[in-house]
Protein backbone atom coordinates (compact mmCIF):
# COMPACT_ATOMS: atom_id res chain seq x y z
CA UNK A 1 0.00 0.00 0.00
CA UNK A 2 2.76 2.34 1.02
CA UNK A 3 4.63 1.82 -2.23
CA UNK A 4 1.43 2.33 -4.14
CA UNK A 5 0.76 5.73 -2.64
CA UNK A 6 4.39 6.61 -3.19
CA UNK A 7 4.02 5.60 -6.84
CA UNK A 8 0.92 7.71 -7.18
CA UNK A 9 2.81 10.73 -5.84
CA UNK A 10 5.57 10.21 -8.38
CA UNK A 11 2.98 9.87 -11.11
CA UNK A 12 1.33 13.10 -9.95
CA UNK A 13 4.65 14.88 -10.05
CA UNK A 14 5.36 13.55 -13.50
CA UNK A 15 1.88 14.59 -14.55
CA UNK A 16 2.62 18.13 -13.41
CA UNK A 17 5.87 18.16 -15.39
CA UNK A 18 4.12 16.84 -18.44
CA UNK A 19 1.52 19.58 -18.26
CA UNK A 20 4.32 22.06 -18.74
CA UNK A 21 6.40 20.12 -21.27
CA UNK A 22 6.09 16.83 -23.04
CA UNK A 23 2.99 14.65 -22.74
CA UNK A 24 5.36 11.83 -23.76
CA UNK A 25 6.89 11.95 -20.29
CA UNK A 26 3.55 11.83 -18.49
CA UNK A 27 4.11 8.43 -16.90
CA UNK A 28 0.50 8.27 -15.73
CA UNK A 29 -0.55 7.48 -19.28
CA UNK A 30 2.08 4.77 -19.81
CA UNK A 31 0.05 1.78 -18.56
CA UNK A 32 -2.83 2.84 -20.76
CA UNK A 33 -0.66 3.16 -23.88
CA UNK A 34 1.23 -0.04 -23.23
CA UNK A 35 -1.95 -2.01 -22.59
CA UNK A 36 -3.64 -0.85 -25.78
CA UNK A 37 -0.43 -1.27 -27.78
CA UNK A 38 -0.14 -4.89 -26.70
CA UNK A 39 -3.80 -5.49 -27.56
CA UNK A 40 -3.26 -3.90 -30.97
CA UNK A 41 -0.10 -5.89 -31.68
CA UNK A 42 -1.75 -9.17 -30.72
CA UNK A 43 -4.78 -8.41 -32.92
CA UNK A 44 -2.59 -7.43 -35.88
CA UNK A 45 -0.36 -10.45 -35.36
CA UNK A 46 -3.30 -12.85 -35.41
CA UNK A 47 -4.98 -11.17 -38.37
CA UNK A 48 -1.70 -11.34 -40.31
CA UNK A 49 -0.58 -14.83 -39.39
CA UNK A 50 -4.01 -16.48 -39.61
CA UNK A 51 -5.61 -14.72 -42.56
CA UNK A 52 -3.65 -12.12 -44.50
CA UNK A 53 -0.15 -13.56 -44.91
CA UNK A 54 -1.11 -17.16 -45.81
CA UNK A 55 -3.63 -15.83 -48.30
CA UNK A 56 -1.19 -13.43 -49.97
CA UNK A 57 1.60 -15.98 -50.05
CA UNK A 58 -0.81 -18.52 -51.61
CA UNK A 59 -1.80 -15.97 -54.24
CA UNK A 60 1.84 -15.16 -55.01
CA UNK A 61 2.76 -18.85 -55.22
CA UNK A 62 -0.22 -19.50 -57.47
CA UNK A 63 0.76 -16.61 -59.69
CA UNK A 64 4.37 -17.72 -60.07
CA UNK A 65 3.10 -21.23 -60.79
CA UNK A 66 0.71 -19.93 -63.42
CA UNK A 67 3.44 -17.86 -65.02
CA UNK A 68 5.79 -20.86 -65.09
CA UNK A 69 3.08 -23.03 -66.63
CA UNK A 70 2.22 -20.39 -69.19
CA UNK A 71 5.85 -20.00 -70.18
CA UNK A 72 6.23 -23.78 -70.50
CA UNK A 73 3.01 -23.98 -72.53
CA UNK A 74 4.19 -21.15 -74.77
CA UNK A 75 7.49 -22.95 -75.29
CA UNK A 76 5.63 -26.13 -76.19
CA UNK A 77 3.29 -24.31 -78.57
CA UNK A 78 6.27 -22.66 -80.22
CA UNK A 79 7.84 -26.08 -80.76
CA UNK A 80 4.57 -27.39 -82.14
CA UNK A 81 4.27 -24.43 -84.47
CA UNK A 82 7.78 -25.10 -85.72
CA UNK A 83 6.94 -28.77 -86.29
CA UNK A 84 3.75 -27.81 -88.08
CA UNK A 85 5.66 -25.43 -90.29
CA UNK A 86 8.18 -28.14 -91.14
CA UNK A 87 5.39 -30.60 -91.88
CA UNK A 88 3.69 -28.01 -94.04
CA UNK A 89 6.90 -27.35 -95.94
CA UNK A 90 7.47 -31.07 -96.44
CA UNK A 91 3.90 -31.57 -97.64
CA UNK A 92 4.24 -28.62 -99.95
CA UNK A 93 7.46 -30.00 -101.46
CA UNK A 94 5.90 -33.43 -101.86
CA UNK A 95 2.81 -31.97 -103.49
CA UNK A 96 4.98 -29.97 -105.85
CA UNK A 97 6.96 -33.07 -106.78
CA UNK A 98 3.78 -35.04 -107.25
CA UNK A 99 2.28 -32.34 -109.45
CA UNK A 100 5.44 -32.30 -111.50
CA UNK A 101 5.31 -36.06 -111.86
CA UNK A 102 1.65 -36.06 -112.78
CA UNK A 103 2.26 -33.35 -115.34
CA UNK A 104 5.15 -35.32 -116.82
CA UNK A 105 3.13 -38.54 -116.88
CA UNK A 106 0.21 -36.80 -118.49
CA UNK A 107 2.47 -35.18 -121.02
CA UNK A 108 4.07 -38.55 -121.81
CA UNK A 109 0.68 -40.25 -122.09
CA UNK A 110 -0.61 -37.55 -124.37
CA UNK A 111 2.55 -37.75 -126.42
CA UNK A 112 2.16 -41.54 -126.71
CA UNK A 113 -1.49 -41.22 -127.68
CA UNK A 114 -0.57 -38.57 -130.17
CA UNK A 115 2.24 -40.69 -131.60
CA UNK A 116 -0.05 -43.71 -131.90
CA UNK A 117 -2.77 -41.67 -133.56
CA UNK A 118 -0.25 -40.13 -135.94
CA UNK A 119 1.18 -43.49 -136.83
CA UNK A 120 -2.30 -44.90 -137.34
CA UNK A 121 -3.29 -41.96 -139.47
CA UNK A 122 -0.06 -42.24 -141.42
CA UNK A 123 -0.72 -45.93 -142.03
CA UNK A 124 -4.28 -45.24 -143.04
CA UNK A 125 -3.18 -42.43 -145.27
CA UNK A 126 -0.53 -44.58 -146.94
CA UNK A 127 -3.01 -47.45 -147.32
CA UNK A 128 -5.54 -45.09 -148.83
CA UNK A 129 -2.88 -43.60 -151.06
CA UNK A 130 -1.81 -47.04 -152.24
CA UNK A 131 -5.41 -47.97 -152.84
CA UNK A 132 -6.00 -44.78 -154.74
CA UNK A 133 -2.86 -45.30 -156.78
CA UNK A 134 -4.08 -48.76 -157.63
CA UNK A 135 -7.49 -47.42 -158.55
CA UNK A 136 -5.89 -44.71 -160.67
CA UNK A 137 -3.71 -47.31 -162.34
CA UNK A 138 -6.75 -49.44 -163.01
CA UNK A 139 -8.62 -46.46 -164.32
CA UNK A 140 -5.60 -45.51 -166.38
CA UNK A 141 -5.34 -49.06 -167.73
CA UNK A 142 -9.07 -49.08 -168.36
CA UNK A 143 -8.79 -45.75 -170.14
CA UNK A 144 -5.92 -47.02 -172.31
CA UNK A 145 -7.97 -50.02 -173.32
CA UNK A 146 -10.95 -47.81 -174.12
CA UNK A 147 -8.73 -45.44 -176.07
CA UNK A 148 -7.35 -48.43 -177.96
CA UNK A 149 -10.84 -49.67 -178.63
CA UNK A 150 -12.07 -46.23 -179.69
CA UNK A 151 -8.98 -45.73 -181.84
CA UNK A 152 -9.50 -49.12 -183.47
CA UNK A 153 -13.11 -48.43 -184.11
CA UNK A 154 -12.32 -44.95 -185.34
CA UNK A 155 -9.54 -46.21 -187.55
CA UNK A 156 -11.82 -48.92 -188.92
CA UNK A 157 -14.52 -46.40 -189.61
CA UNK A 158 -11.95 -44.04 -191.17
CA UNK A 159 -10.63 -46.75 -193.36
CA UNK A 160 -14.16 -47.73 -194.29
CA UNK A 161 -14.98 -44.13 -195.03
CA UNK A 162 -11.95 -43.91 -197.31
CA UNK A 163 -13.49 -46.68 -199.25
CA UNK A 164 -11.30 -49.48 -198.47
CA UNK A 165 -11.64 -52.34 -196.16
CA UNK A 166 -8.92 -53.22 -193.77
CA UNK A 167 -8.70 -56.30 -191.83
CA UNK A 168 -9.01 -55.86 -188.11
CA UNK A 169 -5.68 -57.33 -187.28
CA UNK A 170 -3.63 -54.81 -189.18
CA UNK A 171 -5.65 -51.95 -187.75
CA UNK A 172 -5.11 -53.12 -184.23
CA UNK A 173 -1.41 -53.52 -184.81
CA UNK A 174 -1.23 -50.05 -186.30
CA UNK A 175 -3.13 -48.51 -183.46
CA UNK A 176 -1.02 -50.28 -180.86
CA UNK A 177 2.14 -49.15 -182.59
CA UNK A 178 0.91 -45.58 -182.69
CA UNK A 179 -0.10 -45.60 -179.08
CA UNK A 180 3.21 -46.86 -177.98
CA UNK A 181 4.91 -44.26 -180.10
Amino acid sequence: MATQTHGAEVVDAAHGAAEAGMPQLDFATFPNQIFWLLVTLVVIYFVLSKIALPRISAVLAERSGTIMNDIAAAEELKLKAKEAEEAYNAALAEAKAQAQQIANETRAAIQADLDAATAKADAEISAKAAESAKAIDEIRAGAMDSVKEVAKETAKELVAALGTTADARSVTAAVTARMKG
Binding site: T29, Q33, L53
Partner: protein, 251 residues
Amino acid sequence: MATEAHGSESSLVFHPMDQFKVTPLFGDGPVHWYTITNVTLWMAIAVVGVILLLVVGSRGRAVVPSKGQSIAELTYGFVYKMLEEVTGKDAVKYFPYVMTLFIFIVFSNMLGLLPLSFTTTSHIAVTGVLAVLVFLFVTVLGFVKNGSKFLALFWVSSAPMAVRPLLAVIELISYFVRPVSHSIRLAGNMMAGHAVIKVFAGFAAIAAISPVSILAITAMYGLEILVAFIQAYVFTILTCVYLKDALHPVH
Protein backbone atom coordinates in the same frame (compact mmCIF):
# COMPACT_ATOMS: atom_id res chain seq x y z
CA MET B 1 -8.50 32.56 -23.07
CA ALA B 2 -6.97 35.37 -21.06
CA THR B 3 -3.99 35.74 -23.39
CA GLU B 4 -6.20 35.87 -26.44
CA ALA B 5 -8.08 38.87 -25.09
CA HIS B 6 -4.91 41.01 -25.28
CA GLY B 7 -5.09 41.64 -29.04
CA SER B 8 -3.57 40.38 -32.27
CA GLU B 9 0.10 40.23 -31.24
CA SER B 10 -0.46 38.27 -28.07
CA SER B 11 -2.84 35.89 -29.82
CA LEU B 12 0.26 33.97 -30.89
CA VAL B 13 -0.22 30.95 -28.67
CA PHE B 14 1.92 27.92 -29.25
CA HIS B 15 0.74 24.60 -27.95
CA PRO B 16 2.85 22.33 -30.18
CA MET B 17 2.75 19.49 -27.66
CA ASP B 18 -1.00 19.50 -27.01
CA GLN B 19 -1.52 17.13 -29.93
CA PHE B 20 0.38 14.44 -28.03
CA LYS B 21 -1.84 14.52 -24.94
CA VAL B 22 -3.43 11.25 -23.96
CA THR B 23 -7.04 11.96 -23.04
CA PRO B 24 -10.01 9.72 -22.28
CA LEU B 25 -12.36 9.39 -25.19
CA PHE B 26 -15.48 9.45 -23.01
CA GLY B 27 -15.75 11.73 -20.01
CA ASP B 28 -12.88 13.54 -18.36
CA GLY B 29 -11.69 11.22 -15.65
CA PRO B 30 -8.20 9.91 -14.89
CA VAL B 31 -6.41 7.70 -17.39
CA HIS B 32 -6.38 4.14 -16.01
CA TRP B 33 -4.67 1.32 -17.86
CA TYR B 34 -8.03 0.12 -19.22
CA THR B 35 -9.48 3.56 -20.04
CA ILE B 36 -10.56 3.98 -23.63
CA THR B 37 -8.47 6.93 -24.78
CA ASN B 38 -7.45 8.56 -28.05
CA VAL B 39 -4.59 6.03 -28.05
CA THR B 40 -7.19 3.24 -28.19
CA LEU B 41 -9.09 5.02 -30.96
CA TRP B 42 -6.12 5.57 -33.25
CA MET B 43 -4.67 2.12 -32.66
CA ALA B 44 -8.09 0.67 -33.50
CA ILE B 45 -8.16 2.76 -36.67
CA ALA B 46 -4.70 1.40 -37.52
CA VAL B 47 -5.98 -2.16 -37.02
CA VAL B 48 -8.96 -1.42 -39.27
CA GLY B 49 -6.57 0.03 -41.86
CA VAL B 50 -4.39 -3.07 -41.72
CA ILE B 51 -7.43 -5.31 -42.14
CA LEU B 52 -8.72 -3.18 -45.03
CA LEU B 53 -5.38 -3.32 -46.82
CA LEU B 54 -4.22 -6.88 -46.21
CA VAL B 55 -7.45 -8.83 -45.67
CA VAL B 56 -10.14 -6.98 -47.60
CA GLY B 57 -7.63 -5.93 -50.26
CA SER B 58 -6.56 -9.50 -50.95
CA ARG B 59 -10.03 -11.08 -50.72
CA GLY B 60 -10.21 -11.53 -54.49
CA ARG B 61 -7.21 -13.93 -54.47
CA ALA B 62 -6.91 -13.08 -58.15
CA VAL B 63 -4.00 -14.24 -60.26
CA VAL B 64 -4.30 -10.88 -62.03
CA PRO B 65 -4.59 -8.59 -58.98
CA SER B 66 -6.89 -5.63 -58.41
CA LYS B 67 -5.41 -2.32 -57.24
CA GLY B 68 -5.96 -3.10 -53.55
CA GLN B 69 -4.51 -6.56 -53.91
CA SER B 70 -1.49 -5.14 -55.73
CA ILE B 71 -0.75 -2.80 -52.82
CA ALA B 72 -1.20 -5.64 -50.32
CA GLU B 73 1.16 -7.83 -52.34
CA LEU B 74 3.70 -5.02 -52.70
CA THR B 75 3.70 -4.47 -48.94
CA TYR B 76 4.10 -8.20 -48.36
CA GLY B 77 6.89 -8.46 -50.91
CA PHE B 78 8.66 -5.38 -49.56
CA VAL B 79 8.95 -6.70 -46.00
CA TYR B 80 9.52 -10.30 -47.07
CA LYS B 81 12.42 -9.35 -49.34
CA MET B 82 13.89 -7.10 -46.67
CA LEU B 83 13.86 -9.92 -44.12
CA GLU B 84 15.20 -12.45 -46.62
CA GLU B 85 18.03 -10.24 -47.82
CA VAL B 86 19.10 -8.74 -44.51
CA THR B 87 18.58 -11.68 -42.16
CA GLY B 88 18.74 -14.66 -44.46
CA LYS B 89 16.55 -17.46 -45.78
CA ASP B 90 16.27 -19.18 -42.40
CA ALA B 91 14.59 -16.09 -40.90
CA VAL B 92 11.44 -16.20 -43.00
CA LYS B 93 9.64 -18.08 -40.23
CA TYR B 94 9.78 -14.85 -38.17
CA PHE B 95 8.16 -12.97 -41.04
CA PRO B 96 4.76 -12.50 -39.28
CA TYR B 97 6.48 -10.76 -36.31
CA VAL B 98 8.46 -8.41 -38.54
CA MET B 99 5.44 -7.75 -40.73
CA THR B 100 3.33 -6.94 -37.65
CA LEU B 101 5.89 -4.37 -36.51
CA PHE B 102 6.25 -2.78 -39.92
CA ILE B 103 2.58 -2.60 -40.73
CA PHE B 104 1.66 -1.22 -37.31
CA ILE B 105 4.34 1.49 -37.43
CA VAL B 106 3.70 2.51 -41.02
CA PHE B 107 -0.05 2.75 -40.41
CA SER B 108 0.36 4.67 -37.16
CA ASN B 109 2.82 7.09 -38.76
CA MET B 110 0.63 7.71 -41.78
CA LEU B 111 -2.60 8.02 -39.77
CA GLY B 112 -0.79 10.47 -37.51
CA LEU B 113 -0.40 12.79 -40.48
CA LEU B 114 -4.16 13.22 -40.81
CA PRO B 115 -5.32 16.56 -39.42
CA LEU B 116 -6.67 16.33 -35.84
CA SER B 117 -5.33 12.80 -35.49
CA PHE B 118 -3.22 11.38 -32.68
CA THR B 119 0.16 9.84 -33.50
CA THR B 120 0.59 6.78 -31.30
CA THR B 121 4.17 6.22 -32.51
CA SER B 122 5.21 9.68 -31.28
CA HIS B 123 5.08 8.33 -27.72
CA ILE B 124 8.15 6.86 -26.15
CA ALA B 125 5.90 4.47 -24.20
CA VAL B 126 4.74 2.89 -27.45
CA THR B 127 8.04 2.82 -29.33
CA GLY B 128 9.83 1.79 -26.15
CA VAL B 129 7.62 -1.26 -25.76
CA LEU B 130 8.11 -2.11 -29.44
CA ALA B 131 11.89 -1.81 -29.09
CA VAL B 132 12.01 -3.77 -25.82
CA LEU B 133 9.89 -6.53 -27.39
CA VAL B 134 12.37 -6.76 -30.26
CA PHE B 135 15.32 -6.66 -27.85
CA LEU B 136 13.93 -9.41 -25.61
CA PHE B 137 12.84 -11.54 -28.55
CA VAL B 138 16.24 -11.26 -30.25
CA THR B 139 18.20 -11.90 -27.05
CA VAL B 140 16.14 -14.95 -26.04
CA LEU B 141 16.23 -16.29 -29.59
CA GLY B 142 19.99 -15.79 -29.74
CA PHE B 143 20.57 -17.83 -26.60
CA VAL B 144 18.03 -20.52 -27.55
CA LYS B 145 19.48 -20.96 -31.04
CA ASN B 146 23.18 -20.68 -30.24
CA GLY B 147 23.51 -21.25 -26.50
CA SER B 148 26.67 -19.73 -25.08
CA LYS B 149 28.03 -19.23 -28.59
CA PHE B 150 25.73 -16.22 -28.76
CA LEU B 151 28.26 -14.44 -26.54
CA ALA B 152 30.71 -14.57 -29.47
CA LEU B 153 28.80 -11.53 -30.67
CA PHE B 154 30.68 -9.53 -28.02
CA TRP B 155 34.06 -11.18 -28.55
CA VAL B 156 35.61 -9.59 -31.65
CA SER B 157 37.80 -12.48 -32.82
CA SER B 158 39.29 -10.47 -35.69
CA ALA B 159 40.83 -7.91 -33.29
CA PRO B 160 44.20 -8.35 -31.50
CA MET B 161 43.93 -10.29 -28.24
CA ALA B 162 44.96 -7.28 -26.15
CA VAL B 163 42.03 -5.06 -27.14
CA ARG B 164 39.38 -7.77 -27.18
CA PRO B 165 38.24 -7.31 -23.54
CA LEU B 166 37.90 -3.57 -24.12
CA LEU B 167 35.94 -4.16 -27.34
CA ALA B 168 33.77 -6.67 -25.50
CA VAL B 169 32.76 -4.00 -23.00
CA ILE B 170 31.99 -1.55 -25.80
CA GLU B 171 30.01 -4.18 -27.71
CA LEU B 172 28.06 -5.07 -24.57
CA ILE B 173 27.17 -1.43 -23.93
CA SER B 174 26.18 -0.88 -27.56
CA TYR B 175 24.03 -4.01 -27.40
CA PHE B 176 22.09 -2.70 -24.41
CA VAL B 177 21.79 0.77 -25.93
CA ARG B 178 20.09 -0.73 -28.98
CA PRO B 179 16.49 -0.60 -27.65
CA VAL B 180 17.02 2.98 -26.47
CA SER B 181 18.21 4.27 -29.84
CA HIS B 182 15.74 2.01 -31.62
CA SER B 183 12.76 3.53 -29.80
CA ILE B 184 13.88 7.16 -29.43
CA ARG B 185 14.72 7.38 -33.13
CA LEU B 186 11.14 6.59 -34.11
CA ALA B 187 9.36 8.57 -31.41
CA GLY B 188 11.69 11.55 -31.81
CA ASN B 189 11.24 11.74 -35.57
CA MET B 190 7.48 11.55 -35.28
CA MET B 191 7.24 14.05 -32.44
CA ALA B 192 9.63 16.61 -33.93
CA GLY B 193 7.95 16.78 -37.31
CA HIS B 194 4.47 17.15 -35.86
CA ALA B 195 5.61 19.77 -33.36
CA VAL B 196 7.35 21.81 -36.09
CA ILE B 197 4.19 21.76 -38.21
CA LYS B 198 2.22 22.91 -35.20
CA VAL B 199 4.64 25.79 -34.58
CA PHE B 200 4.39 26.91 -38.21
CA ALA B 201 0.61 26.71 -37.89
CA GLY B 202 0.82 28.98 -34.84
CA PHE B 203 2.52 31.69 -36.93
CA ALA B 204 -0.41 31.65 -39.35
CA ALA B 205 -2.31 33.82 -36.86
CA ILE B 206 -0.33 36.81 -38.13
CA ALA B 207 -1.89 37.73 -41.49
CA ALA B 208 1.36 38.93 -43.09
CA ILE B 209 3.23 35.73 -42.31
CA SER B 210 0.38 33.32 -42.97
CA PRO B 211 1.22 32.62 -46.69
CA VAL B 212 4.79 31.73 -45.73
CA SER B 213 3.43 29.69 -42.87
CA ILE B 214 1.12 27.74 -45.15
CA LEU B 215 3.94 27.11 -47.63
CA ALA B 216 6.18 25.91 -44.83
CA ILE B 217 3.48 23.60 -43.50
CA THR B 218 2.96 22.15 -46.97
CA ALA B 219 6.68 21.51 -47.41
CA MET B 220 6.97 20.00 -43.92
CA TYR B 221 3.96 17.82 -44.61
CA GLY B 222 5.61 16.40 -47.70
CA LEU B 223 8.78 15.75 -45.76
CA GLU B 224 6.78 14.16 -42.94
CA ILE B 225 5.13 11.70 -45.34
CA LEU B 226 8.62 10.66 -46.38
CA VAL B 227 9.79 10.46 -42.77
CA ALA B 228 6.72 8.46 -41.75
CA PHE B 229 7.59 5.78 -44.27
CA ILE B 230 11.35 5.90 -43.81
CA GLN B 231 11.13 5.58 -40.03
CA ALA B 232 8.90 2.52 -40.34
CA TYR B 233 11.42 1.12 -42.81
CA VAL B 234 14.37 1.92 -40.55
CA PHE B 235 12.72 0.37 -37.51
CA THR B 236 11.97 -2.80 -39.48
CA ILE B 237 15.36 -3.12 -41.13
CA LEU B 238 17.10 -2.66 -37.76
CA THR B 239 14.89 -5.40 -36.38
CA CYS B 240 16.08 -7.56 -39.27
CA VAL B 241 19.72 -6.71 -38.50
CA TYR B 242 19.26 -7.60 -34.81
CA LEU B 243 17.56 -10.85 -35.82
CA LYS B 244 20.55 -11.65 -38.01
CA ASP B 245 22.85 -11.16 -35.01
CA ALA B 246 20.72 -13.58 -33.04
CA LEU B 247 20.68 -16.23 -35.76
CA HIS B 248 24.29 -15.87 -36.91
CA PRO B 249 26.29 -14.33 -34.03
CA VAL B 250 29.63 -14.30 -35.84
CA HIS B 251 31.42 -11.03 -35.55
